[in-house]
């Protein structure tokens, strides 16, 4: 809790309190499939079910009586009970009804037309948000991990497409919370894959990760060097993936059959057949498939050549995005030492051919492309809980900005800025005596607000009367290490302030979240109060440990009076932790923090001076040596 705990450690010896027994896994929450892995003593292992299967299809079937089935079994129900089964829900994470209108006709879901904010689906008589459905998948993933490990798995690194916007990232984190998982970090999928490859092969130099999953496409360029994975540029399309190939094939088959209008169930059946056809054509050059419904069987022949002609525009789109990313990183294709393939859709031969042609090198796929992201996530989970020598330095995929006069976007954080990042921009009022200012936060690369994604709106009010142009409104954008944005605004001449966790537009409100959590806890028969109390105690004890450690190193920075105050605060926390009053524990922890604040600042100064002194010496020696 206190800044004094902040310490500067030598690389590789970051001490972590109570790290020993923590179990943290890596979860690849995919559009089509999910995978969970763990890394122990640097050795990653994919966690399988009792039948030895690593993959958990990201498919959920809802039945009567609160029945929820996830995975292989749910996928098998698609043909029998198509109306109860949801797949590819990831494509709707953080989406509003407006976003999906264009594609709604093709989606095998019935969408709730009245929904405001995030889209809702109507399944088996229920109305569910993508967050709740993803949470059901995560619960199943967690259960598979717990069964394989024989212990509780409360924490995880969860991967998201690099190109996921803020709304989709927030939705993913909400889903994890709903599933009872503490998210250690959201890590970008290509970055996780690079981590798995880099650590595995000791790769050095500039690498491209080409990740074509079920519903998303990402490409990242990373420099790997001595344990540092530095993302140079990233790009992608959050609505482009293997699903689109399935749709093309399904549409072809249905057209051949002469079907014009369809219900969601028939669409799902056709999509399943299409997927089988696509997978067959990765190894065979032609084949024939059948569609059977409404008492009619139709046969559909398809060759790889025809398929490739059909999907070629889609593959070219990914290649164009790769070129853009190279440009953003000021690199040429020949600078790239290797290309890593990720995602089941990279099994499509045309994809491999085009990627190899662009980069002039045969892509690497020696780690199973379905599992590589989960493996990298597991390695990062271990690094975050047990310390590590490697370091991931990632970037924001999309520019973040504000609406200004005339609906023009003023970018505050440009895409490919290293995160965490905080940048501020000053604006002013345009009317005399203007008392409030509307702040509209958008994400995207286009010039006009309407062409970008709207993330949130809030109002800075209470600006004292001033002439137009006299007020100084400083808007600060903060992107944390998970890629999540917070925006705050402040009138600097008077200090009037306003802050938002960017969430509302397409997210779930705090009230909705509380309601859902309550529901899920009731189902799990979990005791919320007990959990909160336990958390408060753990956090307070963790702080006590750190305070004591700090005192043992740097107590010389304290006056006798200061020391006495800290000792008293420590005693209060200890007493509070013995009892079961959460409020008292929180209050005592707060008091300890206040008591240690000046000490923390002095230690911070000392720490940084020490670190800087070390570096300057080091660089001085190098200069002398040169």
């Amino acid at each position: 809790m206190s800044e004094m705990l902040f310490d500067i450690f030598e690389p590789g010896e970051t001490p972590l309190p109570h790290a020993g027994d923590e179990v943290a896994v890596g979860i690849d929450l995919g559009t089509t499939n999910s995978v969970v892995a763990i890394s122990r003593q640097g050795k990653p292992e994919v966690l399988r079910d009792d039948k030895g299967r690593a993959i958990i299809p990201s498919v959920v079937a809802y039945g009567r009586d609160d029945e929820v089935i996830v995975g292989h079994e749910a996928r098998n129900l698609i043909l029998d009970r198509p109306q109860d089964v949801v797949s590819s829900i990831k494509r709707l994470m953080g989406r509003g009804i407006e976003d999906i209108k264009a594609v709604a006709g093709q989606l095998p879901f019935e969408v709730d037309g009245d929904a405001t904010g995030m889209v809702r689906l109507k399944v088996a008589g229920r109305t569910l948000s993508p967050v709740e459905i993803s949470a059901d998948i995560l619960k199943a993933v967690r259960a598979q991990a717990e069964a394989a490990l024989g212990k509780k798995v409360p924490k995880a690194v969860i991967t998201v497409p690099a190109y996921f916007d803020d709304a989709a990232r927030t939705a993913t984190k909400d889903a994890a919370r709903l599933a009872g998982i503490e998210v250690l970090r959201l890590v970008n999928e290509p970055t996780a894959a690079a981590l798995a490859y880099g650590l595995d092969q000791g790769a050095e130099g500039l690498y491209a990760v080409y990740d074509l999953g079920g519903g998303t496409f990402d490409v990242s360029l990373l420099r790997m060097e001595k344990g540092v994975f530095q993302v140079k540029a990233t790009g992608g399309d959050a609505a482009l993936g293997g699903d689109d190939i399935d749709h093309m094939i399904a549409e072809l088959f249905l057209a051949e059959r002469g079907v014009t209008s369809l219900d969601a169930g028939r669409v799902k059946q056709a999509l399943m057949t299409a997927r089988v056809a696509k997978e067959c054509l990765t190894s065979r050059s032609e084949g024939e498939w059948m569609l059977e419904f409404d008492g009619k069987v139709s046969k559909h022949a398809l060759s790889r050549q025809t398929l490739e002609a059909m999907i070629s525009p889609l593959v070219e789109r990914t290649i164009t995005i790769c070129r853009q990313v190279l440009e953003d990183a000021a690199a040429l294709p020949e600078d790239v030492k290797g290309v890593v393939l990720v995602g089941g859709s990279t099994r499509v031969p045309l994809v491999r051919k085009r990627v190899a042609a662009l980069f002039g090198t045969e892509p690497l796929a020696n780690i199973n492309p379905d599992e590589v992201v989960a493996v990298g996530a597991a390695q990062q989970a271990e690094a975050l809980t047990h310390g590590s020598d490697t370091l991931l330095l990632d970037v924001t995929p999309l520019s973040l900005g504000l609406e200004t006069m005339g609906g023009i976007v003023e970018k505050v954080i440009l895409r490919n800025t290293p995160i965490p990042a905080a940048l501020a921009q000053e604006f002013t009022t345009y009317q005399d005596g203007q008392a409030s200012m509307m702040i509209h936060v958008v994400q995207g690369e286009r010039e006009l607000v309407a062409q970008n994604r709207s993330l949130a709106r809030f109002t800075l009010s209470g600006i004292p009367p001033m002439a137009a142009g006299a007020a100084r409104i400083r808007v600060t954008f903060t992107v944390d290490a998970d890629g999540l944005l917070t925006v705050s605004a402040c009138e600097t001449t008077t200090g009037v302030e306003s802050q938002v966790q960017v969430k509302p537009s397409y997210g779930i409100s705090e009230e909705e979240m509380a309601e859902m959590l309550k529901d899920s806890l009731e189902h799990a028969k979990d005791d919320m109060a007990a959990r909160l109390l336990a958390e408060a105690k753990v956090d307070a004890r963790r702080n006590l440990l750190a305070v004591r450690a700090a005192l043992s190193h740097d107590s010389d920075l304290l006056s006798a009076l200061e020391r006495e105050g800290i000792d008293r605060a420590i005693a209060t926390v200890e007493t509070a932790c013995e009892a079961s009053d959460r409020e008292a524990i929180l209050a005592s922890a707060e008091a300890l923090e206040t008591a240690t604040k000046p000490f923390a600042e002095k230690r911070m100064d000392r720490g940084i001076r020490k670190a800087l002194a070390g570096v300057s010496m080091d660089s001085l020696e190098k200069r002398v040596g040169e």
Binding site: E3, A19, V228, L393, P420, N543, S616, S619
Partner: protein, 171 residues
């Protein structure tokens, strides 16, 4: 703490990219939020602030234009490039208008490439000149060069964009 101090570098326009990165990575290894994931919320926040400051310093110092503008600011002189109200000198404006016109009229990838190559060499010269201006503590000259560099960088961006659109056949 200024960006140079933060990264343990001597303040000045000439920055060794290798040294800059070594220091940046070294500090991030110690201060990045990933090192504090299992710690308390306050510690996480502090580490985030440190990492943000390091990122900002790195982004500023690795780019010659940003570095020069920042250095001018440190020395108490606002770069003209940052001062929207002040017009650039007319010779520079004329030169850049002509270069832009040439770029718009270029209708083959080769022509665009020639403009791009020339602009990039102009950029290299401007960076050299900046180095000398700062070495001589000639801030007036450095401010002018920052302005020039800003125009040149924008021109090379446009040329690069136009070239890639041409080679992709979407123009």
């Amino acid at each position: 703490m200024d960006h140079f101090q933060r990264l343990g570098l001597m303040p000045g326009f000439d920055v060794d990219q290798g040294e800059l990165e070594r220091h940046y990575f070294g500090f991030q290894r110690r201060l990045h939020p990933d090192r504090f994931a299992a710690r308390s919320a306050k510690e996480k926040l502090m580490s985030q602030q440190q990492a943000m400051a390091l990122n900002e310093a790195y982004e500023t110092l690795k780019d010659p234009l940003k570095r020069a503008a920042y250095l001018l600011k440190l020395k108490g002189r606002k770069a003209d490039a940052e001062d929207g109200a002040k017009p650039a000198d007319s010779a520079l404006l004329m030169e850049q208008m002509e270069a832009r016109e040439a770029l718009m009229e270029a209708d083959s990838a080769e022509q665009v490439q020639a403009i791009l190559a020339r602009t990039e060499s102009d950029i290299a010269f401007a960076v050299d000149d900046l180095s000398q201006a700062f070495a001589a503590e000639c801030l007036e000259g450095a401010a002018k060069l920052v302005m020039r560099l800003k125009y040149l960088m924008r021109l090379s961006d446009e040329a690069r964009g136009r070239k890639s659109r041409m080679t992709r056949g979407t123009l």
